[in-house]
Symmetry: C2
Subunit: 399 residues, 2 copies
């Protein structure tokens, strides 16, 4: 079996390492040797072990009839889209960690793979090393999925953990995370929730077998979370986590990305630092959670290589997966319901009571100029209506 790796960045070099270091055990599991024939990258890597297989032109790989599997770990939409399409059209299996491409074109590529008796596999696109895609589509098969709640982004979870443990501001926390290499110089994709949004779009598409467009998912990042919010969360015995969530209610699927206050008894509560976890609820299974490293060179590469192994065991055989490319109409954000934690100035307590009705007050000693409260469960629309009657300092949803 011959593999071509597109991109020799963090994940690509990790895939190279996993295929090399675990070569023998992989050969045993596949039933034949799996070897790296090409690595495509525009750059040169003088003296690196990759040199003997490095090529700069994708045509070289596509012209070689001995390539069985392409690993696309370039990231971005182009030319990853064109390269993937060309490989699948030739019947070559493609394994990827590229969540943008999967969220946007996953259904299309699955259809193409099916028509060519090959496979488009993307375990590493969500949850890094956590095998959540297989769990969802090949294990939780006897259940109707009722809800998915995931800590899907390690950077923001690291930041939320640091803010809680060190009591630092969002800005200081971000600077520190960037200095340590846990956050990118341009951190928008993480802290604005876009990364988590693409991942929950993929998981929701697979759970319900139909395309969910990430553009349709209401997405709120963690940029609005302050150290005051963290104090209230502690007082409530809760932790703030950026969650990608979706659920089915009365035949409609709803999805959202937002920071939420998670209670201590929830299995997601102790998931800290750069770890990710995905909690699924099935109508028979109840809750099952998968936890692990959501990013990192080798964990992500391990997930990619598990797909390479699947692809190698299914040459010329499409592994069934339901992902209809006709777009699903999500339920309206206005109709989604939860309890809200809300902060107002101390003098607005009466107004808050009047606006929201039945509320439970929370006070934090350090914050004597304001009060916090938790509302009853209500729709987003009702919350907006109530909140328009009082001056809200901040609000965070409860899970």
């Amino acid at each position: 079996m011959n593999v071509a790796i597109l991109g020799y960045g963090t994940v690509g070099s990790g895939v190279f390492d996993v295929l090399t270091e675990n070569h023998d055990i992989i050969a045993k599991r596949v039933g034949k040797s799996v070897d790296i024939k090409y690595v495509l990258d525009l750059r040169e890597f003088p003296g690196d072990k990759v040199e003997s297989v490095l090529v700069h032109d994708y045509k070289t790989i596509m012209a070689d009839p001995d390539v069985d599997i392409v690993v696309e770990v370039m990231g971005g939409l182009h030319p990853a889209y064109e390269f993937t399409k060309e490989a699948l059209e030739k019947g070559i299996a493609v394994c990827t960690s590229n969540k943008e491409l999967v969220a946007k074109h996953g259904a299309e590529f699955i259809e193409l793979a099916k028509s060519k008796n090959t496979n488009y596999l993307f375990e590493a696109s969500v949850g890094g090393g956590i095998p959540i895609i297989r769990q969802l589509i090949r294990s939780i098969t006897a259940d109707e999925v009722e809800a998915i709640n995931g800590i899907l982004n390690g950077t923001t979870n690291y930041m939320m953990t640091e803010m809680r443990e060190k009591g630092v501001s969002f800005e200081d926390c971000l600077k520190d995370a960037q200095a340590k290499g846990f956050a990118e110089r341009n951190p928008a994709a993480d802290i604005e929730g876009h990364d988590a949004c693409r991942k929950i779009a993929i998981l929701t598409s697979l759970a319900y077998g139909q395309q969910v467009d990430f553009e349709d998912i209401y997405t709120e990042g963690i940029t609005g979370i302050t150290s005051e919010d963290v104090l209230y969360a502690k007082e409530l015995g809760r932790g703030i986590k950026l969650l990608g969530s979706s659920y089915m209610k009365d035949g409609k699927v709803y999805a959202m990305v937002a920071p939420k206050m998670v209670e201590q008894t929830n299995p997601l509560y102790p998931v800290n630092g750069v770890f990710n976890a995905i909690l699924l609820r099935g109508n028979m299974l109840d809750e099952v959670m998968c936890y692990g490293k959501g990013a990192g060179k080798l964990p992500t590469a391990s997930a990619v290589v598990s797909d390479v192994i699947d692809a190698a065991k299914h040459i010329n055989t499409f592994i069934p997966v339901l992902w209809d490319k006709n777009k699903m109409e999500l339920g309206k954000k206005d109709d989604m319901t939860c309890k809200f934690f809300v902060r107002v100035a101390k003098e607005d307590e009466a107004a808050a009571n009047a606006a929201f009705g039945n509320i439970s007050i929370v006070r934090v000693a350090e914050l004597d100029k304001e009060i916090g409260f938790v509302t009853e469960e209500m729709s987003e629309a009702k919350y907006d209506a109530c909140a328009s009657k009082v001056n809200v300092i901040n609000r965070i949803r409860l899970m």
Copy 2:
């Protein structure tokens, strides 16, 4: 597709319910309807929905050429062994939750299934609703498994949680668990660790592709754990969990079942009550944990039915799984290493110091007649030698 369910007990009736209630979504995922043609049970169930498909003689099922899949949820070794063998020999797939049978005859049945182009599937035999078997053999495929640590028995985890939260004695806790139906009238299989032992034997066999006999695994239950031990665990910031563990070191595989003091930062620490969780460490993946309901009618049935779906999608096709029936020689218990928590009488402090060398003392205010201490990491053999020189009240391993 026609299914015959052997046994209409808790799991069997759960399988009936899952196949009935989720009939349409299962049909969509399989690509055809999956129906219950027979339920085998010696008992009568007057007025129950099972009546129209109930039979009392296995011959009826084996004589019907339209049966595609047998679900064996009878438990026990006989006649489950004979029934399974007969079905597989006819090329009929068998799905089971029977951990005793899988631990004892799994490798044999897989070989038989392979030779008949059919499948022997057993997702529900470990971890109830948690899809740990598939995770281990179909997802964590790019890694060498370095270690498995699992909370594999819900009854004992419930008891450990209750002892910690309510400060009750082991005996009172057991009576309470029996009264609530969480522990059996004859609780030995759970509290002596035999159930966890069979499960870690299955997981270890699959992780290393070779038969591990459960009789070879050193097994210690929770019957020796006292409320005093729980006080020390709290003082140490640890929790006591009954763990099924195995790991590979220098090419040898070691396995053990024993209560261990787990530290707060370990993802197994917050796993409480009847929940189960399995923490795997791969050489590339680092740690991944799967958490969920380890028992219960519908979660276990959901796992069985996920196997039924796999079997239905692979009629006449063996799904590869490595489990060589030649027995693996485990590493010696004497060579296994860990830190130990040890309790001795107050007047034995000097003797303990002399016997164990470098120890860290732990004191609990309520227990002023004794001291606790934690040893350095040492082998079981060395521990036994040291402990023979001093009067040990109790000892618990650390993880």
